[in-house]
Amino acid sequence: MRQVAASGVRKGFRIGKETVYGYVMAAPAILGFFIFTLGPLIASLILSFTDYSITNDFRFIGVSNYKRLFSGEDSFFYKALSVTFYYVALAVPISLTAAFIMAMLLKNNVKGRAFFRSVFYLPSVVPVVATSTIFIWLLNPDIGLLNQILRFLHLPTSMWIYDEKTVIPTMAFMTVWTTGGTMLIFLAGLESIPEQYYEAVEIDGGRLWHKLTAVTLPMMTPTIFFNLIMGIITGFQSFSEAYIMTEGGPNNASLFYVLYLYREAFTHLRMGAACAIAWVLFVIIMILSALIFRSSRTWVYYEGDK
């Protein structure tokens, strides 16, 4: 009797307590979300309709900031957009393909697999400032290693990041060096494919190519989807490489969108305009993500929903 009553009381008490502790212990994250994510997000939207520039009191100016961008009055806007789209269109497929190939090579239980995996991931822990410094040196048109090797092989050299035409492709190819994280995610995906599927292809007389197209690629579509979305989001927000290596040059040919935003905000102190620039980016990324999500129904294969 006593036991039942006690446990009943205890139980009621416990539920309440669990809720209280639940909220209190999650409070830092929830507060943090409001203070550092949702609050600034809304503030940014409001500021984008003002002419705030730190030095003045702000006035609401309606959609003028947006108008100025889309009308082409600020020619850097379209320049930055096209530069960034071009960069993302090159860098994302290039780095994803490289990561996928590396993962495929490592998938087989080759000897020294852990070693190779570490080597391919290693550049990803190098600080972006150091990566940029190293590449400025490697890509130096006169004395850089890359052109020296090309000269040695009697191949045409390039101006790399110092030419309007080659700067974006060069920076897109640089991402191959730091794609180790993507490779690891691909590798995990590859290893979760049941071996029987490959055996089934073998029994049917399929070869390597059939395994790739009939098993590996379909089974990997969820992972490809994930890496694609993440790649696009990071690609659109590239900043440091361009800031450090080219400062957006030559002739704004590497004016990444966030670099443009940074200039508006921290060089010209046009905070209101910069918020409008940021919101345009936000909307672009949302639209692209939504498109990819929608298209994923047709090309992403999820086990279980047949």
Partner: protein, 279 residues
């Protein structure tokens, strides 16, 4: 595990590709170290010299002499310690609440936090900057440290939660029966059992803070308060022609994360793999 027999030629080809690929991946770092140890006169020789002769360790002290990298190191460590401590503690506490306590609205708030991860940082950058500027003024490390004390970021909470969910529920129940409170269960049962994910969070967070460039660039403009990343970027501007000093400075920045990676490789791999599993 059944070993599949492969044609020998395939295997040889595979190794050739892997070895060649590794060489290409290591080349930039090798080249950095080679240049950092080289005499200025040797660095420009064509065709390039691979092994420095004589080896000039003096480049490091010379680089240290031109800019106060020791000072920048201390600055960076202040931010790293403040930030990583906050991220580790609060992500563990919040992760515990999301993983093991039941309270109304829990899943909603978790989804909300996760949606924040998809948000481009550029959108919140300016109001956050303006907010800090109003509240604490320019040139403090607070904006680089304090946010980490609010759960350490959605990604870390996600990692912790996923891990803590795998711990058997009977652990908590046994402690509850023994009269332990929820905080005690966290402190004495779940947190100690989550050591490996805590290490993952600490490593990731260290790398993120150590490598951060935009944060210090925006919030710090007094030279005596620069971080290593900012210092190196300044250095590029001043000494573009003195490659051996630049590379020595770069090497100094690169070594700590590489050493940490070498020590904690398995944790890194586990953490990244977990991050991809939600896709």
């Amino acid at each position: 595990m059944a070993v599949k027999r492969k044609p020998r030629i395939h295997l040889i080809l595979l190794y050739l590709v892997l070895v060649f690929g590794s060489a290409v991946y290591l080349l930039p770092l090798v080249w950095m170290i080679r240049s950092a140890l080289m005499d200025a006169s040797q660095i420009f020789i064509v065709p390039p010299v691979w092994i420095p002769d004589p080896i000039r360790f003096g480049n490091f002290s010379k680089a240290l002499g031109t800019l106060p990298f020791d000072r920048y190191f201390v600055n960076t460590m202040i931010i790293v310690i403040g930030n990583v401590t906050g991220a580790v503690l609060t992500s563990a506490i919040c992760g515990y609440s999301f993983a093991r306590l039941r309270w109304p609205g829990r899943d909603f708030f978790f989804a909300l936090l996760m949606s924040g991860m998809m948000l481009p940082y550029a959108v919140t950058l300016i109001p956050t900057f303006l907010g800090w500027r109003t509240v604490v003024g320019p040139n403090t490390y607070l904006p680089l440290i304090v946010p980490a004390w609010f759960g350490g970021g959605a990604f870390n909470i996600f990692l912790v939660r996923q891990f803590m969910r795998t711990i058997p529920k009977s652990m908590d129940e046994a402690a509850l029966v023994d009269g332990a409170g929820y905080f005690q269960i966290f402190r004495y049962v779940i947190f100690p059992l989550s050591r490996s994910v805590v290490i993952v969070v600490a490593l990731f967070q260290f790398m993120a803070v150590w490598n951060d460039f935009l944060g210090p660039l925006i919030y710090v403009n007094k030279e005596s308060m620069y971080t290593l990343a900012l210092g190196l970027q300044q250095f590029i501007g001043y000494y573009t022609a003195q490659w051996e000093l630049l590379m020595a400075a770069a090497t100094m920045i690169v070594i700590p994360p590489i050493v940490l990676f070498a020590v904690g490789q398995n944790y890194f791999v586990r953490g990244i793999v977990m991050s991809g599993l939600k896709g």
